[in-house]
């Protein structure tokens, strides 16, 4: 097993406001990591640091053995951000065009090859959006949009899938199917890092949990997390108790 992301003693601030303090953990190949924490706890900031979108004030982040901020093999990563950060609500782009974006890192300035087309078709079939290919993405339901964005991420044939609250605004049935799909992808060998605000849902699907609120309160097996005090420490004592039995 090799380390895909290695976070060492990372501290990060937005101006005077501290966002993350002294975070250390790693993500191994084939892991399904769920990152959890209250609003403003630094989950998205940490994910951005792990992907090289931000640079830590102190400490170091390695991505596939390279400093994350210098990482240039973008085709090894599939990323789906929070819905507010893309233009799915306004762009006149079809699902076909969106999924094809996933091959941009592979194709560069050249035309898409038959290999690119095959990867796009595989991704489309995997998430079952073949019947939506010629629809504008701004005219799809929340669940359909998210599947299209996952297809874009899968089209790059990534080794690491990074998802930032991908099911926000998606109905419960679509969300459960979506997480079922993520489980299948993880079993197929793709390492997944997932931010999800719903603790109940997250702990049902992931194998490893990183619980943080500026500091890292827990990193490890989901069972150990459920047995620990990390959740109440990160969220405060008044937070609701998780209501399911993890298998």
């Amino acid at each position: 097993m090799t380390t895909i992301v290695d976070v060492t003693d990372v501290t990060f601030s937005y101006g005077e406001e501290s966002a993350l303090e002294d975070i250390t953990f790693s993500v191994e190949t084939g892991e399904f990591l769920g990152m959890i924490g209250p609003n403003g706890s630094g989950k998205t900031t940490l994910l951005h640091l792990m992907l090289g979108l931000l640079e830590p004030d102190v400490g170091e982040v390695q991505l596939f053995g390279q400093p994350a901020s210098e990482f240039d093999a973008g085709h090894r990563i599939g990323y789906v951000g929070q819905r507010a950060t893309d233009r799915t609500g306004a762009m006149p782009a079809t699902v076909r065009e969106v999924v094809a974006m996933g091959r941009t890192a592979h194709a560069g300035r050249s035309r898409l090859t038959s290999e690119d087309i095959a990867a796009i078709e595989d991704a489309v079939e995997t998430v079952d959006v073949a019947d939506l290919l010629d629809r504008r993405i701004d005219q799809l339901s929340g669940g359909q949009r998210q599947r299209a964005l996952i297809a874009r991420a899968l089209a790059s044939e990534p080794e690491l899938l990074a998802l930032d609250e991908p099911t926000a605004g998606v109905d419960a049935d679509s969300r459960d199917r979506f997480y079922g799909l993520l489980g299948e992808l993880n079993e197929a060998g793709i390492t997944i890092i997932l931010i999800e605000h719903d603790i109940d849902v997250l702990t049902s699907f992931v194998g490893t949990v990183a619980c943080l609120n500026r500091r890292l309160y827990h990193h490890g097996d989901v069972h150990a997390f459920l047995d620990s005090e990390a959740l109440s420490e990160a969220y405060g004592r008044e937070h609701a108790i998780i209501g399911h039995d993890h298998p």
């Binding site: 951000g81 950060t85 893309d86 076909r96 941009t104 010629d134």
Partner: protein, 374 residues
């Protein structure tokens, strides 16, 4: 040129369940679009050839027979148009130069506009046009200084080159400012827009006493066929070729960045470089377009055809195609009104383009919710 993500033969049968009437309408629509694009391509190519011939004819001391024949063809056609319309403008080379410039603006501006309006950069063009106005004022001083100090000989035809340099400088400054604030916010745009215009008015006022050339301020503000010089027409020709070539080569990257900048960054695309490229292209196209459209109205050509296309298009590729077609229809319609009615071309072109936009609003059930508000 631009890649099609999946060619037609690769596509799953997504539309196989469509009724035959819808397929027929779809085919008719595609056919009309391709005809529109083909006509635009032929028109733009002809106008480029005219400008090349015009340039070569001017350069050649003895006069080039081929270039002369080509130009005479335009002037002969112009005489016929004048005869039928009762006008007295189409036989002039200067008129054809202006028409050629307009046609090329109708290609370059909408191509960029399709990206700009979906990147919350709609008013960037307006800001850069105001910066270009300051650039024209700087140009007057540079031309005057070049005569006084015996540098290379510059004349009023070179004003737009200086304006382009100033606009590019401002564009880079704006990009730097917005990268520090993480958005194309209202405040930096408002400051640069009004600030550069203020500098322009001060420089023009200050230079009046000693400048060796006079500037048609009204022409630059509202657009004028008369201020199109051979040099500025050539500038627009070069810019159009550059814009179409660059967008064609980098289409995938520009589309990805426009759709989801952060995901594009994760994919390893040099987002900052593309942002700089896009804003520089916008700056130079705005300078080229401002001679016909005017400082005040030039942004409309970046925004309105692309907004019209976004209402009707089924894909981003179709948005690009329709933007160019609506841009061309607006320029040709506007120039026809301006030339026949002796009206300002900028206002005429913008009114025609907004007419197409209103028709698209009526004919479409889509809204522009979520499009750029800047």
């Amino acid at each position: 040129m631009m890649d099609d993500p999946c060619s037609a033969e690769d596509r799953p049968e997504a539309n196989s369940s469509n009724p035959p009437s819808i397929d027929r309408i779809s085919r008719l629509r595609s056919g009309l679009e391709y005809i529109g694009l083909a006509v635009t391509f032929l028109l733009a190519t002809t106008m480029l050839l005219f400008l090349v011939a015009d340039w070569y004819y001017t350069l050649s001391i003895t006069g080039s027979p081929t270039a002369g024949w080509f130009i005479s063809g335009f002037q002969g056609a112009g005489e016929w148009i004048d005869f039928y319309l009762g006008s007295d403008v189409f036989w002039l080379r200067t008129t054809w130069r202006s028409i050629a410039t307009g046609v090329l603006i109708g290609v370059a501006a909408p191509v960029l506009g399709a990206f700009l309006i979906h990147r919350q950069m709609a008013l960037i063009g307006e800001t850069l046009a105001h910066a270009a106005f300051a650039g024209v004022a700087v140009g007057v001083l540079v031309v005057t200084a070049s005569g006084s100090f015996g540098w290379i000989t510059l004349h009023s035809g070179h004003l737009l080159y200086v304006a382009a340099l100033v606009a590019v400088g401002v564009a880079l400054g704006l990009q730097w400012l917005t990268s520090r604030t993480d958005s194309y916010g209202d405040v930096p745009i408002a400051i640069i827009l009004s600030g550069s215009f203020a500098v322009g008015t001060l420089l023009i006022h200050w230079g009046r006493d000693f400048a060796t050339i006079t500037v048609d301020i009204e022409g630059f503000l509202f657009g004028s066929i008369a201020i199109v010089t051979p040099e500025s027409a050539r500038l627009m020709a070069i810019l159009t070729i550059a814009v179409v070539a660059i967008v064609g080569v980098h289409y995938k990257q520009l589309l990805f960045i426009t759709f989801d900048e952060r995901a594009a960054r994760v994919a390893g695309i040099q987002v900052d470089r593309y942002n700089v490229l896009l804003i520089i292209l916008t700056a130079v196209v705005v300078v080229g377009a401002m001679q016909i459209l005017g400082v005040i109205l030039v942004a409309a050509m970046l925004v309105v055809p692309a907004a019209t296309a976004s209402l009707l298009a089924a894909s981003f590729r179709e948005t690009m195609y329709l933007s160019i077609i609506f841009g061309q229809l607006s320029v040709l319609g506007g120039l026809a009104i301006a030339l026949s009615g002796q009206l300002p071309p900028g206002g005429s072109i913008v009114v025609v383009s907004i007419g197409w936009y209103l028709l698209a609003v009526i004919g479409s059930d889509r809204t522009l919710t979520g499009l750029s508000v800047h």
